[in-house]
């Protein structure tokens, strides 16, 4: 029988005397608390080491001055407390007392913010629409389900670094893209073609994954709902907008949330495909470029990036009500 964690204890044969029911005998409950604690602690400690420590350390670093020449006095400073100056440096693009000159990393904060947001909006929109269509095709495929599932997993399994190189080749000047489109575009040579190339590569790599997530959501919709709607004379379009969309909404929102947070930290694809040139420098690329020029300033930028992504996730859950934990658990039943 397929049961989720909470359902498991509740569904266990009702007539049976309660052996280890939830909220049963208090000593058993505290035993569960204790065992749960011991089992969880190693993983939590591990996460604290690999995530918690670096995050706290990054915040501490972001309030320290980078050693170097102070642009306003021309004297060497060896560090020390910086206040919010590293944050001011990025957000107001200030280098010392002046505006950061074009070409410096300091002047690239808002351009890379807008590139990141562009990639996120463009990729996620296309991926969700295309993914929805793919999921619908897959859900009503009479035959070839195995073939579909197999081919859909291929782009997902290929390392992003390889994907980037592959599309770099496809978008080469003499490459297959120009040859098929009968164009002579220098894809990685100017802003919009370069951005389009990155979006296309990202869409290819992750749409199938979105489709799988949506498909899992589609499969928990009971078929008789559609039968009833058909009997009542609903058109196919009505059935899609009135039944499929509302019922698949939780799964859809989770897919959109995952992908949004994923593209906001995008690095591999633009870094390898375009080298971050021509308006494809994302926030993550900017952090990496900054690291060798000053840790503390990079730490401030990575903290900004982290807070930005956190804010997006928060707004998502708050206003769209994407209940990740719950949807995950109900999908586990639908997935197989």
């Amino acid at each position: 029988m397929t049961v989720t964690s909470e359902a498991g204890t509740r569904d266990a044969e009702p007539g049976e005397p309660p052996k280890r029911r939830r909220r049963g005998r208090p000593e058993l409950e505290s035993a569960q608390n204790r065992l749960g604690f011991y089992l969880i602690v190693p993983a939590i400690i591990m996460l604290l080491i690999v995530i918690g420590y670096p995050v706290v350390r990054a915040v501490v670093m972001s309030f320290q001055k980078d050693p170097g020449l102070d642009p306003s006095t021309g004297l060497f400073v060896s560090g020390g407390f910086a206040g919010f100056s590293n944050y001011v440096h990025w957000i107001f693009q200030r280098c010392g007392d002046v505006k950061c000159p074009p070409g410096t990393l300091g002047s690239q904060f808002w351009p890379s913010m807008s590139a990141t947001i562009f990639f996120t909006v463009a990729s996620v929109t296309i991926e969700v629409v295309l993914g929805m269509w793919m999921a619908l095709v897959m859900s009503r495929a009479f035959r070839g389900r195995g073939l579909l599932r197999a081919s859909v997993l291929v782009p997902w399994a290929i390392p992003t670094a390889v994907t980037a190189k592959l599309w770099f080749f496809i978008f080469a000047f003499e490459g297959i893209a120009n040859s098929l489109l009968h164009t002579e575009i220098l894809w990685t040579g100017s802003k919009w073609p370069a951005r389009i190339a990155v979006v296309v590569a990202d869409v290819w790599k992750t749409t199938p994954f979105i489709a799988l997530l949506i498909l899992a959501g589609l499969q928990i919709i009971p078929g008789d709902v559609y039968e009833a709607a058909k009997v009542d004379g609903a058109t196919a379009w009505q059935r899609f907008t009135r039944i499929t969309l509302p019922l698949v909404r939780p799964a859809l929102l989770v897919a959109i949330l995952f992908r949004t947070l994923d593209v906001l930290r995008i690095f591999d694809l633009p870094y390898i495909l375009t080298g971050g040139a021509n308006g494809t420098t994302t926030l993550s690329i900017l952090v990496v470029n900054q690291i060798r020029q000053g840790f503390n300033s990079a730490a401030a930028l990575s903290t900004i990036t982290f807070l930005f992504i956190f804010l997006v996730a928060f707004l998502f859950v708050k206003f769209l009500g994407a209940n990740v934990v719950q949807t995950q658990q109900s999908q586990q039943k639908g997935a197989r």
């Binding site: 990054a58 009479f142 995952f258 390898i272 730490a299």
Partner: protein, 301 residues
């Protein structure tokens, strides 16, 4: 599957007409549309992959031949990939990726298995907080870890070592493992554990002797997912590895050809094929389980 064949049969117009006039013709139209859809999806997913393989077997002089089928077939590119005279150490990078991937996977599964068991089977205070933390951790941007780790590893002389590559990978492999395993554990037959408990086994014994053997397939799938995630990692490895420890993703991104400023496309496609094909075969063998694990753990695309 009754529920799935009835889902949304097609775009409005044709399906409606088919239903009101002759049902069989509508069904045929739906079938045709379905097949066209399948063909389009398969083409979309496989065409670029196919192009990589075709190019990898093409003579470097005909790099931009652009014929859709194999022409000027040669194995030279594969020789170039493993040739170290141009400063590429691809074979070493493959070994490095394997070491990093296996160590990351073992650590993640080792720590994840207990947490997942607790999350799936026990009711304890703070369970949903832990679930939220784990999910939040899997959304975490890698760059936020990079700067402090870069400085720390430089200071303690770990820069470019294997542990400096394995430890950061835990940050995404462990949440992934916990999530997927929690899903698998939640599916286990409860009754067997109950029976063991009735027979006098302790909860710990019930876990070791009953549940663990039953979860072996789930553990294996989870391990594969964690391994693929570690194998595909690029951001952290590109900054924290040295020439000696760099994994394949970094090696491919920095692959150099015989001429400066000229991208050795065919060799790179061969390298990509070497890295990808074993992974794809593995994924195809385990596709059912991987799809189940992916949609449950739905992270790291």
């Amino acid at each position: 599957m009754a529920s799935t064949t009835t889902v949304e049969p097609g775009r409005a117009g044709a399906a409606t007409r088919g239903r009101t006039r002759t049902a069989p013709r509508g069904a045929t139209a739906a079938k045709v549309r379905s097949y066209i859809g399948i063909v389009l999806i398969v083409l979309f997913c496989l065409a670029p992959f196919y192009w990589m393989i075709v190019t990898s077997f093409r003579d470097v002089g005909y790099t931009f031949d652009n014929t859709p089928w194999p022409t000027h077939v040669t194995l030279d590119n594969y020789r170039t990939v493993f040739d170290t005279s141009l400063g590429n150490h691809f074979a070493r990078a493959l070994v490095n990726s394997a070491i990093i991937g296996v160590c990351t996977t073992i650590l993640a599964v080792l720590f994840g298995v207990f947490a997942a068991y607790a999350l799936a089977r026990l009711d304890f205070r703070g369970k949903f907080v832990v679930l939220g933390v784990v999910l939040g951790a899997s959304m975490f941007p890698g760059v936020a870890l990079l700067t402090p780790l870069f400085q720390l590893f430089t200071n303690i002389g770990w820069f470019g070592t294997y542990q400096a590559l394995i430890i950061p990978d835990i940050s995404f492999a462990l949440p992934l493992t916990i999530y997927v395993l929690t899903a698998f554990f939640a599916e286990m037959p409860w009754e067997l554990e109950q029976a063991a408990l009735v027979d006098g086994a302790s909860p710990g014994q019930a876990f070791r002797k009953v549940i663990l053997p039953l979860t072996a397939p789930g553990l294996f799938t989870t391990a594969i997912l964690a391994f693929i995630a570690a194998w595909n990692e690029f951001l952290l490895a590109s900054q924290l590895s040295s020439d000696k420890t760099q994994p394949v993703t970094v090696a491919i991104a920095g692959f150099t050809g015989s001429q400066p400023h000229q991208e050795p496309y065919t060799a790179i496609m061969a390298a990509g094929t070497v890295v990808t094909v074993p992974l794809v075969i593995l994924v195809l063998i385990l596709q059912r389980r991987i799809v189940a694990g992916l949609t449950a753990g739905g992270v790291k695309g």
